[in-house]
Symmetry: C2
Subunit: 180 residues, 2 copies
């Protein structure tokens, strides 16, 4: 990779720290920032008509997230993105990233293959888990895929991600532990 482009890339990267509970992306935002989590935990969530918060996704260390509605569909964000712990992130403006990568075939491929794929792969697998698995199986898969997360993320958020209620999640846990 061209060192000139690498330097240009680095110039566009910002490091930021956030306290627990801070909002990184607001609903309605059209910013096209791409976040890489160096340390910490972030969740995306929506607020429904009854003012309930519903968590859509959870992101941990080394994961990339972004205002997907803005980057992918040019719409404003439907989600809040909020830290669940003290969190340190690298931020790149997606437009700048695009400009840079379009100048370099290698980077372009990296951008497409890495960033795009990760996001899509995740979403795809998630649909599959809803179509093919029961809530209990989804929970088991979640634990398997994210063994460390269950101790760091409140159950109510995990329940939302699995598409069930916190009460139901608690019962599923109970059921599983009894079977053993």
């Amino acid at each position: 990779m061209n060192i000139k482009i690498l330097l240009a890339l680095l110039r566009n990267v910002t490091m930021k720290s956030f306290d627990k509970g801070e909002i990184l992306i607001q609903v309605g935002s059209t910013k096209r920032d791409v976040y890489y989590i160096r340390k910490g935990l972030v969740r995306s969530y929506m607020v429904d008509e009854d003012v309930n918060e519903i968590t859509f996704q959870i992101y941990a260390e080394h994961q990339v997230f972004t205002n997907a509605h803005s980057v992918l569909f040019n719409e404003s964000s439907k989600f809040y993105y909020q830290t669940l712990e003290h969190t340190k992130v690298y931020i790149v403006d997606y437009n700048a990233l695009l400009k840079l990568t379009s100048q370099n075939a290698e980077l372009l491929e990296l951008n497409r293959s890495y960033f795009g794929k990760k996001v899509i792969e995740q979403v795809f697998q998630r649909v599959e888990s809803f179509v093919f698995l029961s809530p209990e199986e989804r929970y088991k898969k979640f634990v398997q895929d994210n063994p460390k997360l269950i101790h760091r993320v409140p159950d109510k958020y995990i329940a939302n991600v699995l598409g069930i209620t916190p009460v139901s999640l608690s019962r599923i846990r109970n059921r599983i532990s009894k079977k053993k």
Copy 2:
């Protein structure tokens, strides 16, 4: 758009017709063909351990589908793609498409924005429907989004797509019609 590139594009497009029930993409295939449905209906499905077919997605006229596992993740297909009616499609090899589009910024953007977005938008909305909606609400949304499909697609396939059983789908219909 450059006419030379347009012609090159057309040289890479094949038109094909399939009878009802034919398999377009086999499980295990690594072919990177992109299909555009001119007329007809296609479903993607998996076969589980108990040899049950589980339908993952349904594609109709003017929709684009492809061996997503192969194109997006460089893996072999986990799904069969099968016609549900006599179906006419245009086929482009994705690799050829990539080569062509990379020579032309306009086409590149078209490819990214149109093909990519459509696929991703669909999957995203689908996850949202599982997280935020009940089975009954999912069914209503499906009818709203695909008013013509319900009369062309067997219920058991729709049930799979919604993540429920055919029996449950029948009951949901019954419930809805009684409420009116």
